[in-house]
Symmetry: C2
């Protein structure tokens, strides 16, 4: 049987799971790839930390892999942006196929890589939603469709926290601590919690769906750390759940790209994705809604995607990097966040004085925002009342202006908190 030589750069959690998977499932991998896959070398910063079960030659010099002409495929699992990008460029310049799980690097440099690669395969199934084959689904399975929308739960840590807040009545910090104890959240969970991890993944999906270019800084990204039990209470009361969604949506020639918490109807399939799991709902103009569900992180699940890419390369059945050979839809442009339309939820803590409600409703009315549902409850603070309300369809500019005006009222206890309602 023919063989293919692989070099793995970054032999941490996912890297060692990949090496072990290639060893443990060798039988079916060879049968499906039609070749034998040999991990020839691994490169890692700290050799002493490598999992002792892995039986491959390890060094700490990138060039041991990049300059080795016998290595056919470079697997990049080191993370980070700059060095990883250098590795990618060098591998591709030597016509080595490049397989990566590095969403941050792709978020910044994906189109440069597409340019450099030419016909050399670049695969990145593991960069979005761990073990769920969403890249291949979007790139190959739904290729006949104009993609109308993508809505993804792409960060397991956030979904775990929100699910636990909902089911167990705990506050954000308690749930975050629990996620860290269980190993779901990093010791520095900032990129998870602030939505940036999801944004990186969204940009990759949007490149396949639309061929549009945007950097993480170009799009609206909000995290989940301000959500509290009042918001969960309101959602429960009116048949919503709160999820951190990565959203790409096309209307006419406008593409919306945004990551933020949403209230979404509990009956939608994506709302049923709970705990640490990921899920992506895609609507195509012909196929309608399809949804993909599974583990979004973890060594083995991520390695499953990495190795599926290796098999794709070995079979010589790679699709173009983003699934298109000519430029995709022309004339698409990124919609500015201020022009999106949505329904909104507001949590407003006010000092409980006469006339407060009338001041608030008149500010909303002045901005053309009409209230759909309103709940007033006592807050945990003496003399403070909490107003929870949802609006009919409005737009981002109006709601932001209304929030600014509300902030200026002397009866505000703190800044109003807004969550978009996704329908």
């Amino acid at each position: 049987m023919k063989s293919i030589n692989i070099g793995i750069i970054g032999v941490g959690n996912v890297g060692s799971a990949t090496a072990l998977l290639l060893e443990n499932n060798k039988d079916i991998i060879s049968a499906r790839a039609g070749v034998e896959m040999i991990v020839k070398k691994g490169v890692v910063r700290d050799i002493d930390k490598v999992n002792k079960d892995i039986n491959i030659s390890i060094s700490n010099n990138l060039d041991d892999i990049l300059d080795d002409d016998s290595i056919d495929i470079v697997v990049e699992l080191m993370g980070g942006v700059d060095t990883a990008f250098e590795v990618a460029k060098k591998a591709l310049s030597k016509k080595k196929a490049f397989v990566t799980a590095n969403k941050a690097m792709l978020a910044y440099h994906r189109y440069e890589l597409q340019e450099i690669a030419g016909d050399t395969p670049i695969c990145f199934e593991a960069s979005v939603a761990g073990g769920i084959p969403i890249i291949k689904a979007l790139r190959d399975g739904l290729s006949a469709n104009h993609i109308m929308s993508i809505r993804g739960i792409l960060n397991g840590t956030c979904n775990y926290i929100l699910t636990k807040m909902t089911n167990e009545n705990l506050n954000f910090n308690e749930c975050l601590k629990e996620a860290q104890n269980l190993g779901y959240a990093e010791s520095n969970p900032k990129l998870d919690i602030n939505g940036m991890d999801s944004a990186h993944k969204l940009l990759i999906l949007a490149s396949i769906a639309y061929g549009v270019n945007a950097m993480p800084e170009d799009i609206l990204v909000e995290g989940i750390d301000k959500i509290n039990q009042d918001d969960i209470f309101f959602a429960n009361e009116f048949g919503y759940v709160i999820k951190l969604l990565a959203i790409a949506k096309k209307t006419g020639n406008d593409v919306e790209l945004r990551v933020h918490p949403v209230m979404i109807c509990e009956n939608e399939m994506i709302s049923k994705v709970s705990g640490v799991m990921n899920g992506i709902s895609v609507i195509g103009d012909k196929v309608g809604e399809t949804m993909y569900y599974g583990a979004g992180a973890g060594g083995d699940a991520t390695a499953s995607s990495v190795v599926s890419d290796l098999i794709e390369v070995a079979r010589d059945s790679s699709s173009p990097m983003f699934g298109f050979k000519q430029p995709l839809e022309s004339g698409l442009k990124i919609k500015s966040i201020s022009s999106i339309e949505s329904k909104y939820y507001l949590r407003i803590n006010v000092f409980d004085k006469a006339g407060v409600l009338s001041k608030i409703t008149s500010i909303l009315g002045d901005n053309g925002i009409s209230i759909k549902m309103l709940l007033q409850k006592n807050s945990n603070y003496e003399g403070v009342a909490t107003l929870l309300l949802s609006t009919h369809k409005s737009n981002e500019l109006s709601i932001q202006k209304a929030i600014s005006s509300l902030c200026k009222l002397d009866v505000m206890y703190d800044k109003p908190y807004m969550i978009r309602i996704e329908e």
Copy 2:
């Protein structure tokens, strides 16, 4: 731009949707395929019935396509087994790529086609679960995994009926009629209702997952027509839903293949697939559970899959027919149904006389079956009581022997009805 010529055999619902999709989404299809797709000819039995919106040359002679050397890809959407198989053989013998939605033909002839095809692409995404790209997910996305199980809701008609029976308290025949009125069920819905349609699809999935060969007649296939409101009541009461599942499961070297109604815990993701939708849960040894959800039928959704196959062929990125180049796992064999283990639900209608319950429980006890939950209720028939019970884990041989013995009791009103409990 290069072009590829396509011939469509069978220009009914899916065939015309395919032709229209190729026309309407021409822009992205060319961009993604890298070639222009031209439907050169269609063949249909009754030319007068063809959708008038379709602007292609139509004949009623198969050879107009099969003998046309300029046609690169034959799309078979005619249905049926024998003629479709002849078409497939002839197309492949002429090295034309072959794209089909024909599950029945594949259920019987898939391995012969694999043999004949050699390196000529055969694609059949549309044969299982309509618009859901489950074939590509299993063949490409999960290719690194030993597949532990597949559990599919593969027939929208059955799922619609069961959902409606559950939500609206209606009986089977009322729901079937409604499904027919809505166009979900054929005027002759036998193959849907009796599970055979799901069985065809299961065999195709099992070939990708395991490389095992079986004919529809070799496996257990049960339909949904005997399910009644008593069963729905019991399921509701104990946190189950009733679904028609197509199941493939590997334990050691044994592969179970079966299609039958199940009671399954309402919390599982697959249980949330309701109405006319399809869903497939796949468990891989590394990736864990992933699930795929979407429209399992309908012209546009099915055409989405057909055209994704055309794009795959045009890109020259086809995988092997079942995703393996060498024989897959060796030594796997189909497990006989009599040796499967399961928990069971029984509905037993008896004449309401003293001592009846003791007779029944002693028969179960004699067969080593222990009862987990038991409900007794009045039946709709005077003097008849209905016993609804679930068992602890038992095996198929024991439950079938127990049912036979129960049938011989003179207190039986009718034959006991059994549903397997899937866990």
